[in-house]
């Protein structure tokens, strides 16, 4: 098979339970050094997806507050430390470094909302998840784009 650098997968999510299911299937794939970028408008469900993902990796009752004001929250999980970033308020890449970006990338799993602020720090190897609104209020459409090795890994997230 020809190696691909990019693979797109679109999944319709009926409701929050479907989002949580996708999150837990994704969680099983994650390991230290991975980065997941979450894209989508305000209210699209980026933090909800991140919360379900972090809870699936560790304690299902873990508090996962919005990181908008704290900029980053970290969680210890059996899969490794998870760094949940919200870069919305940042000006650019040099400020991302201040948040411990290098540590997150060395031995952690980085889950990043508003990833465009990364600029030149954006890893070539990553999973992008773009959330868009669906036909009814609870529905969402997730587009998963795997870059680098994620092009292959993302295929296993195809709904059965």
């Amino acid at each position: 098979m020809t190696p691909r650098i990019r693979h797109d997968l679109t999944i319709d999510l009926q409701d929050e339970a479907a989002t949580a299911d996708l999150a837990s299937r994704l969680g099983r794939l994650l390991r230290a050094g991975d980065m997941v970028a979450l894209r989508g408008d305000l209210g699209a469900g980026k933090t909800s997806l991140a919360r379900a993902l972090i809870q699936s990796l560790g304690d299902a009752d873990e508090e996962v507050p919005s990181p908008t004001f704290t900029l980053v929250q970290t969680y210890e999980t059996p899969a490794g430390p998870v760094w949940h970033f919200d870069l919305y308020r940042l000006g650019g890449p040099d400020e991302v470094i201040e948040l411990g970006w290098d540590d997150a990338r060395t031995d952690g799993i980085a889950v990043v909302e508003w990833p465009d602020r990364l600029g030149t720090l954006m890893p070539d190897e990553r999973l992008d998840i773009t959330l868009a609104f669906g036909p009814d209020p609870t529905a969402r459409r997730a587009t998963l784009t795997g870059f680098g090795a994620w092009a292959g890994r993302v295929e296993s997230l195809e709904p059965k």
């Binding site: 305000l42 909800s48 299902a60 908008t68 900029l71």
Partner: protein, 356 residues
């Protein structure tokens, strides 16, 4: 007794001097001095380097305002967490250095403890505010209800399971095209609006416990906006939606706080004060709803002045002083704590995340 306080845990660099006679002798916050910050305040001053550049000068200025030398201090306090680690290290190292050179006690203060104790500094009653009291801490980054039982004794009765209430205002205002900061702009937009026109959810209302959730409300605002006619928003629609949003937040706050009051009363029959701290306390509508609730439940309503509700060093100096007079100080080996819950025994919130 006089204490210097230092705050560097997030966006602000600040230094202040307070006394045990509840006097604020010096109070300097960097963002209030500079007028060249980018419009909107969206970009935080997070760089440890920036705190480092400014902190010396701010401390000097606070000491000058107080008209004191370091030899007249009884202790030095700094925020030891929670917050961004780079900034916290700068404040803690600076405080330790002053303490070491001058032979003064050092106190590492939990940032949230600073918010929790400020009301004891600012309470207008001549005898001050005594423990226990109920604290609603509502800002852009925090949304918690705490029973404040004593210095170092905080019990969390409720917290947000997703967004803080100030964050909900900011995000709803952004969706409505009102700009930043969302709180005051949304409040102004809601004036004279029909709060019953748009059907918005009241997340967590009527549920057991005292936890909050605001993420679903933000999404509901977005959904109501998408149902409006295409094209630029009609100002009347925005006015009514802003009013409906505020009413929904008010209903949730009243419901959650009345539960917290009942729980607090059952455990502390002598407690009679509701303290509301945080930037959201500036919202006149919410303030009126909470004041009415306090009256109805036989609570005294107290809110520190707004400039002491946002991040500042006065609250750190004051919390340090409260700890110092109990002999509760920290060693120079104190390590900054990026995560530092005020109530480590708090149970997990009831929900598992709201709809968004």
């Amino acid at each position: 007794m006089i204490v210097l306080g230092i705050e560097t845990s997030c966006d602000e660099t600040a230094a202040a001097v307070v006394t045990d006679r509840r006097e604020i002798l010096g109070d300097v916050v960097l963002s209030q001095l500079t007028d060249h910050r980018p419009y909107g305040g969206v970009v935080p001053e997070i760089a440890a380097r920036a705190h480092l550049d400014h902190l010396d000068g701010l401390i000097r200025r606070a000491m000058d305002e107080a008209g004191l030398g370091f030899d007249q201090l009884d202790g030095v306090a700094a925020t030891g967490g929670p917050g961004l680690i780079g900034g916290v290290i700068v404040g803690v190292m600076t405080a330790k250095a002053i303490a070491a050179v001058r032979g003064l006690p050092f106190i590492a203060v939990n940032h949230l403890e600073g918010h929790a104790l400020t009301a004891r500094l600012t309470d207008p009653a001549p005898e001050g505010l005594s423990f226990p009291y109920l604290l609603l801490l509502v800002s852009g980054g925090h949304c918690q209800i705490l029973a404040v039982e004593g210095v170092g004794r905080y019990r969390r009765l409720g917290t947000t399971i997703d967004d803080a209430v100030g964050e909900a205002f900011d995000k709803a205002a952004k969706l409505m095209g009102l700009g930043y900061p969302g709180g005051p702009l949304l409040e102004r937009a809601a004036e004279g609006g029909d709060a019953s026109r748009f059907d918005l959810p009241r997340p967590m209302k009527g549920r057991p416990g005292c936890d909050f959730s605001f993420s679903g409300l933000k999404t509901a605002v977005r959904n109501r906006l998408s149902e409006l006619p295409p094209g630029p928003f009609d100002p009347i629609d925005i006015r009514d939606l802003a009013a409906s949003f505020q009413a929904a937040v008010g209903d949730v706050m009243v419901d959650r706080c009345s539960r917290a009051m009942a729980q607090f009363r059952a455990e502390h029959p002598t407690g009679d004060t509701l303290v509301v701290a945080g930037g959201v306390a500036a919202n006149k509508y919410l303030r009126a709803r909470l004041t009415a609730l306090a009256d109805k439940q036989g609570f005294r309503f107290q809110a520190p002045p707004l400039r002491l509700c946002t991040d500042n060093a006065v609250m750190i100096a004051w919390a340090g002083l409260e700890r110092l007079r109990l002999g509760d100080t920290d060693g120079l080996d104190f390590a900054p704590r990026p995560r530092w819950p005020l109530d480590p025994t708090a149970r997990k919130p009831d929900g598992k995340g709201a709809k968004a």
